[in-house]
Amino acid sequence: MTRLRAALAGLLLPAAAAAGVRPTYCGCDLAIGLPAAPRQWDPARAMDPVDLLALGVHHATPLVVAPAGLAPGLLAEVPEPQAGGRAFRLVLKPDLRFADGTPLGAADLAASLARLAQPGTPHGWIALPIDGADAVLDGRPGAPAGIQVLSDREVLVTLSFPLPDFPAALATIPAAVVSARGFGAGPFAGARPVRADGAFVQARANDACAQGRPFADTASLGAVDPRGAARQLERALSEDGLLLVLRPEAAGPGAVALPARTATYAALGPRLGAAADAVRAALGSIDRAELARLYVRGPSEPLATLLPSAVLPAPLPAQAAAPAPAPGPRRAAPAVRIALLVLSASSEQRAVVQRLQVKLFDRGIQSSIETADAERFWPRVTAGDYDVALVPVPLLAARPAIAAGEVAWALRGAAAARRAMASLSALPPSELGPALQALARDLDAIPLFASGLRATPAPALQGLAPRPDGTIDFGDLWVWQGASR
């Protein structure tokens, strides 16, 4: 019987999504299982892909990425470029409110954009093109001069260089509009711990959500391991439970692969000195397809260039693969010794760095592994305090110029990000491949692979329609009417 329900859900899911109809309120708890408990609830500061995904529960963005391209979110329409791609007029939908009931206006939109220009923000790439953002990012107090509030619902954004793709940055979760008290305008609100260890938190439905109140009363988010996810799905199947598992591996039947949008790069640091050429050659010869297949659990894609295919308008011409060295352990003492810096929280990154360690060893380079938590990892990457760093960059923007700026920002900082955006802006697709190769050389980083998650819903859960940028509108989920509740 449950198998039949699942099959029916599979048929209904695309139909519901196509209809664009908001599900009716049914009253229940939506459980969302993640690889790790969310730790960062501020969209402007979140860097972990899981955190960024989970933030969609609370927050709404000015624009969203629909299958046909950018679509309005909180904005009434997708802004058209003005002044040769240097200005955009953002108009909010009428009568918007935050989850705490306070009105959401143009000032809130301007403040949310302005705070992305504050020094130390991990998503400064969004505000970077805005006129005056340079000075603010360098420490000047105040907001960038390029953000002007025209009325209660209108904001004029002026850029310092032409960037027609700038609206794509407004469809990313860090660009979500946040109230001064930290409330968002997403389908759910609040984060109350529901377990003593804090591994699960619960959010209540947002009655003021622009898309309408979600079907569930609450949404609970927390960490589940693969076995736990399988058990909970089994239980949800028998009990018509509402569970959505977001993990790299498929937790059960009906799993949907989200686009691989977290790109991992091996960045070479300035400390390498004379060893840089040998290390660059060794890392460049790694079989990225094999790396992605053997060491990445979730949906993955080897990176032939700086950006994954999900961000590119069209597939790039295939590159000739470098010959792989003969495998097998070496007996001679390696001549070069380096350290590989990796984020300690990600098992995927740790597995990959162990592969890099072996491949470097096969090429005569001895490497130790340094793990660092996010609080230490990102400052070290920003300061160039590493030999080789394995840097995962969640690519949130759906346009190559913005996404490349995001990569450059994460690897080398503001100046590199500005160069990347300016060089790729309005570039024809035929010139994109060479430009991305040149940019990878400029950033001195080896693109390795992109990875993503899989979404496995319980059979009773309907409406799961991941967007092209890998995000999920949790407010779209609804309950199959045949369920017992």
Binding site: R293, L294, P327, P329, A351, Q354, Q357, K359, Q366, S368
Partner: protein, 572 residues
């Protein structure tokens, strides 16, 4: 080296050499005994190590066999065959199983060595591991063998020695194998060292150290020093014995060095050695002291003779040897004392004879010098007698001439007596710093002679000399006067001063006829003169003054080429 020292050394060697010669057999016998004890201990330790290795090999083989037959391994094999297991999902399994079963090495691989999952080197998954392939090809399933495998460690990929076994996963299709084992690393070395109370060293086949451990003992400083001394002497550390175990014996990939260490045995050996060395030192010191005392008794009169002979050589003829002696040495002492007494008496007689001869010479010279004026005086008186008796008119004129002649001779007598008196009572010089150029200038200012060309030759910036200015002026004036006297027809007189090897040399030279070679060595003798009316005391006085200034006076001359006198005074 003195005779006494040689005798003392000889006595010390006489005592030390036999004792030292006895040391080596004693130590040899002791070492042999200790070595036997050590060998027995080493056998026990080696057996314990071999037993532990067998136990570990059995444990590793059993663990791998159990894992290969476990439900979880079969599930992986089944899911993999069904395509339900992604490679990335398999990659982490070996690590989980390895940690759960307490193994240090574990890999899940295909028969050709392609690694699906590795616990000890996770990044190897996907590669064909040549070592693993060789293990599958050469070793039977279920039997743990020593292998050097690459393992991920804190510093990177490092070789580690391990006992590794493999087995087929039951029912796997396609075939799947599990290879795992335990590392023979620092932890095992520590355990073996603790178990056997021995030093354990793990080495790769090429000798590369893999791990070292020693039992927790802290030998005293003396023992550590003694072991180091033995190592330096090539005798091996005291109380230690070492044996090497090849792993495996037929084709070693690694070696285990087992070394037993016994502080008790080493301490016994060191105690015996120290006691022996103390005895040796005491006996040698006693022998050396006895030899020195005996030598002192024998060499005392000889030492006294040597000292007395040195005093005699220095002119002390009162030196006598007063040391007790016997036999030939006593006769030698008596002969020496007699000889010095004879020498003293001879010197006294010689001095008396010299004094008499000197007085005679003085009397002769005085008589000679006084007699010469007396004759004209007598003749003048005789000359006056007749004119006076005859009441000659020219008597007053004659009287005047006679009294003038007598007066001149009397003045000459007085001058002679003054010279003798000055020679006899020359005052001691009053030394003070005097500039040499000023002395030369003063001499030349006091002297003028028509027909004689004066040449002044003084070097600039000469050091001062310590001299009695008046006496040195007298010396130089005397030399200048002699030079002028030697050039009655005129010539060139050169007076100069120059620096010469820490001294200042004053020179006075003339262009007169020179001094005959036969007279050259006598010019400074008192009363020697070739001048009419000279007393022969001028140069003698000059020599005495110069010598009392600590200097010396020299003369060079050749017939027809003039004479050159040099006065050398020490510079300040």
């Amino acid at each position: 080296m003195t005779l006494r020292a040689r005798l003392g050394l000889a006595f010390a060697l006489f005592a030390a050499v036999p004792l030292a010669a006895a040391l080596w057999p004693v130590l040899g016998a002791l070492s042999q005994s200790l070595d036997s004890e050590q060998a027995a201990r080493l056998d026990t330790a080696v057996h314990a190590v071999e037993g532990e290795l067998r136990r570990l090999a059995g444990t590793a083989g059993e663990s791998v066999r159990d894992l290969a037959r476990s439900a979880e391994a079969e599930a992986v094999s089944r899911d993999r065959a069904a395509g339900a297991l992604a490679p990335a999902d398999v990659a982490g399994r070996a690590g989980e199983w390895m940690r759960a079963r307490g193994l240090d090495v574990l890999a899940l691989a295909e028969p050709d060595g392609r690694v699906l999952s590795s616990g000890h080197l996770p990044g190897r998954a996907g590669d064909v591991d040549a070592d693993l392939a060789e293990l599958f090809a050469r070793s039977p399933a279920g039997q743990a063998v020593p292998r050097v495998v690459a393992r991920a460690g804190p510093s990177g990929v490092e070789p580690v020695l391990a006992l590794v076994a493999w087995d087929d996963v039951r029912g796997a299709e396609p075939p799947l194998r599990v290879a795992g084992g335990v590392a023979l690393g620092p932890e095992l070395a520590d355990r073996l060292a603790s178990l056997t109370d021995s030093a354990i060293g793990l080495r790769a086949a090429d000798g590369t150290p893999l791990a070292d451990a020693s039992p927790a003992v802290d030998p005293s400083t003396a023992l550590r020093v003694w072991r180091r001394v033995r190592l330096v002497l090539g005798a091996g550390p005291a109380g230690t014995a070492t044996r090497t175990l090849d792993l495996p014996p037929e084709a070693p990939v690694a070696r285990i060095l087992v070394g037993t260490v016994s502080d008790g045995l080493a301490r016994a050996e060191l105690t015996v050695l120290l006691a022996f060395l103390a005895t040796l030192a005491g006996a040698t010191a006693a022998a050396a002291a006895a030899g020195a005392a005996l030598a002192r008794r024998v060499t005392r009169p000889v030492e006294a003779l040597r000292a007395a002979a040195a005093r005699v050589a220095a002119g002390d003829l009162e030196a006598r040897v007063d040391a007790p002696a016997t036999g030939e040495v006593a006769e030698l002492v008596e002969a020496f004392n007699g000889m010095t007494a004879d020498l003293a008496r001879s010197r006294a007689r010689l001095a008396a004879a010299e004094r008499v001869a000197a007085w005679r010479e003085v009397a002769r010279r005085l008589a000679h010098e006084i007699k010469n004026p007396l004759t004209p005086i007598a003749m003048s008186i005789e000359t006056l007698r007749d004119p006076a008796a005859q009441a000659r008119q020219d008597f007053p004129a004659i009287l005047g001439e006679a009294t003038q002649a007598i007066g001149e001779e009397v003045r000459r007598l007085k001058r002679i007596l003054d010279e003798f008196s000055r020679f006899a009572r020359l005052p001691a010089p009053e030394l003070a710093p005097v500039p040499p150029d000023e002395l030369v200038q003063a001499v030349l200012a006091l002297f003028q002679a028509p027909g004689v060309e004066l040449v002044r030759e003084v070097e600039p910036r000469l050091p001062l000399v310590r001299a009695d200015r008046d006496q040195m002026l007298q010396v130089l004036l005397n030399l200048v006067r002699n030079a002028v006297d030697a050039m009655p027809s005129g010539g060139t007189l050169r007076v100069g001063a120059r620096r010469d090897d820490g001294e200042v040399a004053f020179t006075v030279s003339d262009t007169g006829p020179g001094i005959p070679p036969g007279d050259l060595h006598r010019v400074f003798e008192p009363y020697f003169t070739t001048k009419e009316g000279g007393t022969g005391l001028g140069l003698a006085i000059a020599q005495r003054i110069v010598e009392e200034h600590g200097g010396r006076i020299e003369v060079e001359s050749a017939p027809g080429r003039g004479a050159r006198f040099s006065v050398r005074l020490p510079a300040t």
